[in-house]
Each structure stands twice: as C-alpha cells, then as structure tokens.
Symmetry: C2
Subunit: 360 residues, 2 copies
C-alpha cells in the first residue's frame, strides 16, 4: 500500500523523536512492501519563527490532503522563550488547538500502561504496581472550556474574565461511541468521568453516555466524579479499562495517569475524527531542556506511529511488529536515559531508533 503521511516535527525534541519514528516506518515499509510518502510541515514555535503564526492554512490543507499526521511536539520554555511574549492566539499551543479543531479531531486516545520491565520507575508502591494496569483514556478534544467563548473585560471597574464550558448531546454521543467501541476490543469496561453533582454539562454528559451504553450490553458502564477519579488513579489504577471524559478533565486525568506509569516517554497518543484519519503524537512535551542532545526517548513517538498503522491504515501486522520490536528491545535491556536503571544498557535517541528498526 502507498500512504501519504503529513509530518510535523515541531519544536524542542520533536525533530529528533520524529526522525527515529520515520526510520522505523521506513523499515516497516521495506519489510511489508509498502510505500510511505512524507510531507514535512511546520507548526508551533518553528512556524511562528518562519511564518509569524503557529499554524498556517497551508499546513492545515496539507494535513487534510494526507492519510494521517505524525507529530513530534510543539512549544518551548514558557518563561524564557520569546514565543510566550506573543498574544495567546499566536503562541505555539494555539497551533495545536487550531489543528485539532480544523481537522475535527474530537477523540484523543491515550493508552496508559505499566510496562513490566519498567515497573521500577512507577511512583506507586509495589503493593499497587504489582497488580499492573493498562487503561485507555478517551478525552474529548474539541469541545468544552478549550473552545468555548471567552472574554476579559471591565465590569464596574473590575477586570473580569470568563470562559464557557458547552457540550451538545451530539458531541457527547460521538465520543461515547468511540469509548464503547474501543472498550469492546479491550476488557469491556467504561468509566465515564464527570462532575454531575455540580455542572449542567456533566449532567447532560452522564445522560447521553448512559443512553449510548444501551447499545453495548456487554460493556459495564460506571460513572465516577472527577475528584474521586483523581484519587482512584493513585489508589487503584488496575480498576480502569477505558476512561471517557470531557476535554479539561481529560487533560488533567490523562497527565496524572501517564505519570503513574513512571515512563511518560513510552506513551503514545492518537487524536481521531469520525473517519480513520488521525494525528499521532507522543504524550510527553517538547522538553526544550534536552532538545538537540540526542538524549530524548523516541519510543512514545514510535508507538504513536504504530497506532497510526493500526487505526488509520488498518495495518495490524505492521503495528504488531513495531510494538513487538519495542518490547524486545526493552527485554534485551536497552534504555534511554529517562527510563535507565541499574544493569541496563543506555542508548541515545538515534541508537534506540536503530535498535527498534533492527528488530522489525
């Protein structure tokens, strides 16, 4: 098969980690007889430097014309980088929010699991981590507070700022369906997170998710308040299979969940629209402090490429091959600095890419 991939290397460690993913994808192409065409595009800080804006119409059009988007990371150090002197709508993050909306990427999938080989990095105590955990957070990505009307204005001489949290039943239904669909392929449990004891949007959320559940009699649905969810993730992460929630709650909880794995450098993510089209990126940030030093962990990005093969290209064997190669390399004791532990062999970013490619 021939596939066109839009590649956004982005800022910080983005270029390094994406380069290693392309190395692995090229090996997959060679091995399985595919052809991947890459179109490199700017977004975020590098786009600000080149074009004065974090996201151009050309980048959006080129992404739309492709079969999937592979992304590194965007943004810089918020206290020192000149990008953060710009008005909010011209900063790197505005590019990220803009592309999510422009491509209709309403479903953000973040698998958070404890790799047995890396259990030592888990910040939780052994009684908890020994049970292992493997959950997928399904975050709504184009609604809620992130995309509601906002304004800052003087009200009776006092500066007042307002953001708006809106969800329609249609927006809730489509993400709920994605959550139940993916739960059917996993352990058939959905935990829907809301704050229904306070928010109208959460009450509508709970109602619609409950309706959607009727079409999935095999899936167990549970509702959990967001404050309790923040506790349960630490107390007993093994209880979760698929967690579905709105944009802001998903932002907070998915970061908490990725931290409890202890190896955020391992966690991929996919942001999908209604079709098979998606944008794939690592869960971690642009890590400007180690950028350009060939030290970053490329595995999250390589596993994001695997998700792309699986979800956008229906290349199941190929995705398995990448994931197995990653497992093999970990079992063989190879580590980047962030996941290094005693007795293991430390590799640079590019060496890790080589090792994984070799194992395809």
């Amino acid at each position: 098969m021939e596939k066109n991939i839009a590649v956004i290397k982005g800022d910080g460690i983005g270029p390094e980690i994406v380069t290693e993913s392309m190395k692995v994808l090229d090996k997959v192409a060679e091995k399985f007889g595919h052809k991947f065409n890459y179109t490199q595009l700017l977004m975020g800080g590098c786009s600000i430097d080149a074009n004065g804006v974090p996201l151009t119409d050309e980048t959006i059009a080129a992404c739309k014309a492709s079969d999937a988007v592979l992304m590194g990371s965007i943004g810089g150090d918020t206290t020192t980088s000149p990008w953060y002197k710009l008005p909010a709508n011209l900063r790197p993050e505005a590019g990220l929010l803009g592309i999510r909306k422009a491509l209709g990427l309403f479903a953000n999938l973040r698998p958070c699991l404890l790799y047995p080989e890396l259990a030592g990095a888990c910040p939780l105590k052994t009684e908890i981590s020994a049970k292992g955990f493997d959950m997928l957070i399904m975050r709504e990505l184009t609604g809620g507070l992130y995309f509601g009307a906002r304004k800052t204005e003087e009200v009776n001489g006092v500066m007042t700022a307002t953001d708006t949290l809106t969800y329609s039943e249609d927006e809730i239904r489509r993400i709920a369906i994605k959550a139940f669909d993916v739960a059917m392929k996993r352990r058939k449990k959905v935990t829907s997170v809301d704050k229904a004891n306070v928010l109208d949007s959460s009450r509508l959320w709970r109602k619609v998710v409950t309706e959607v559940a009727k079409d999935y009699p095999e899936v167990t649905l549970e509702h959990m308040l967001v404050d309790n969810s923040a506790m349960q993730l630490v107390k007993d992460p093994a209880q979760f299979d698929v967690m579905v929630t709105e944009n802001m709650f998903g932002d907070i909880l998915s970061d908490e969940a990725s931290m409890i794995t202890g190896s955020i450098g391992m966690l991929p993510s996919a942001s999908m629209n209604e079709t098979k089209f998606g944008l794939y990126e690592p869960s971690g940030g642009s890590a400007p402090d180690i950028a350009g030093q060939n030290k970053a962990n490329p595995i999250a990005t390589i596993l994001s490429a695997a998700m792309m093969l699986r979800y956008s290209f229906d290349m199941v064997k190929e995705a398995d091959a990448v994931e197995n190669a990653v497992s093999k390399v970990l079992k063989d004791g190879f580590r980047t600095g962030d996941i290094m532990s005693e007795g293991m062999t430390k590799l640079s970013c590019s060496e890790m890419g080589d090792k994984i490619a070799e194992n395809i």
Copy 2:
C-alpha cells in the same frame, strides 16, 4: 472565653465523627477554662428528610449568629439514596454549595501531610514518601464553574448544556492574599495553579497572583499548569508548600493530594471568609457504607476542630494540645480500621475519641 459553635452533624458517618470532636472540645474547655455552646443544625440529606430542602434559612441564620461552624459530612450513596432522585438544586450537595456562598466562605484550606507513623499507608513508593511532604492547598471556594450561570436547552433540536467559569480580579486577589499570608507562616513558597495557556480566567488569575506576590518579597512564587500539577503531586509532592488555585482545579488536586497521603481519614479542612469566621470539616466524605457502625476515623474532624480553635478563636495553646494529643495517640500505636496496620491496637470511632480526649 465563651464561644458559640454551630454544629452540623450531617449524614452518613457525620454524627459519629462530630460527636467525638465535641468530646475533645469539651475536654479542651474543661482543661483551659473555656465554655463552648453548641447549636445543632440540619443540613444535607437529613435536612431534606426533615424539611424538604438541603439547607434552610434558619440554618444559615444560626450559622451566621455563631462564632464558627463545625461540620461532619453530608450526602449519601448517589446510586441508591432517594436524595439523588431529586432535582440537582434539592440534593444534599446543593446545601453545601449554598452554605459556602451564604457565609461567603471563599477560602478553603486543606493541609495534606504525610504522618511519619502512617507512611506505610502512602500509595507512593518509599523513594518518594521517605522525603515526607507537608503542603496546604488553598482552594477558591465561591467562584468559577461552581457558581457561574448554567443552562441546558435545545439549540436547533440538539440538547446543549453550558456552565460558565468567571473570576473577577477581586475574587482572585483575596484568595491570593490568603495564600501568601499562610505561606509566610510556613515555608514561604506559593505554587499558583492555572491553565493560562488556554483559559482567559487563568490568564487573569496568573496576572493578579503575580501582582499580589509583589507585597510578599520573602515568598517564592511559582506558576504551574494544572495538568503538570496533577503529575507533580505524584512525582514529587515534597516540592509543594502552599498551592493556590481556582475552585474546580482545587477540587480535583486537593483530592489527589489527600489520596497520596494514604490517610484521608486524618485530613481536616477549613473554609473561611474575610474575617476569622470559618466552617470546619473533615476532607473525606460521608462514607454511607460504614455509617452507624462506630468504625469511622474521627481524627480528621477532631483536627478540623483544632483548626477552628486556631483560626477562628485564636486559641493557639488549645489547638496545639489537640494536635499533640492526636500525635501521641498515633505514637502509642492506636489506630482506627482505615489506618490500621500490623502490631497496632485497633480502636472504634468512640474509643479513638476517648483516647484523644484523655491525652489533652
């Protein structure tokens, strides 16, 4: 001194744990020559049962007429209790939100610390918990999404729900001042949590907190995004002294922080207005599953009473006496079921109250 205390025992384990706190307060009164007059009031589920509403004007008036409010917990099992068949504005939680607003309790103080004797209950691994941690979360309690306009309506045939997140600079300033004031009495560090890369309300938050910081040159101010904060709490809780944030973020992060102590049954809270008036309650919930069994841990409520002595009554020696009595009882190996471990002596709720009172 003579003080009038409004007592809201509430639902679930509320009556048991408040009874033990009153036992301890009575011992304090005897020992230090004070007089505490209690006025028992209904709120939450018990008020619904008696009056049809979770909060009456009488309860509000009696609270206002008192020097402080001591509360247990309110609410029941949200899936089985008939209270949760009622419209949202008549449920137990509406009483809690109502009293916060009616009494102007805009500052919620939640100390989260790891008791050395209970470090074994901490869900984090020893490398992290061995450093210990002792932070105070200052949550804004009467603004933001909790109290903004909300509506659910049909828009072009589609049900749509909206909540509103509004903060004025005055609301931000007064909570920031509380945070810096308390930091001056602690380790002089404030971490202000927001989502300034997305929300207007967060950008105003950051601006005002930065302004307030100028009046506290000795205090170190740091800004942290809410998603990162959810990670840092798990990764390295020792880094935090005072964390100040808006209502919803505070709800989520304070629950996460209390869970990482591993002993939520130990954590008190205070909700204050601009004066010395406050409402004091344990951080945990009403635990309907163990209500009436004399099993609950009364320590969080007893420590809440100690906060009342300290913050509302300026009774420093008395507050110290209560806190020291709790430490002594823990050192002597006494535990309620929730914090029980091998080799310790298990006490019931009332026995724990007795033990602490004895040690005053």
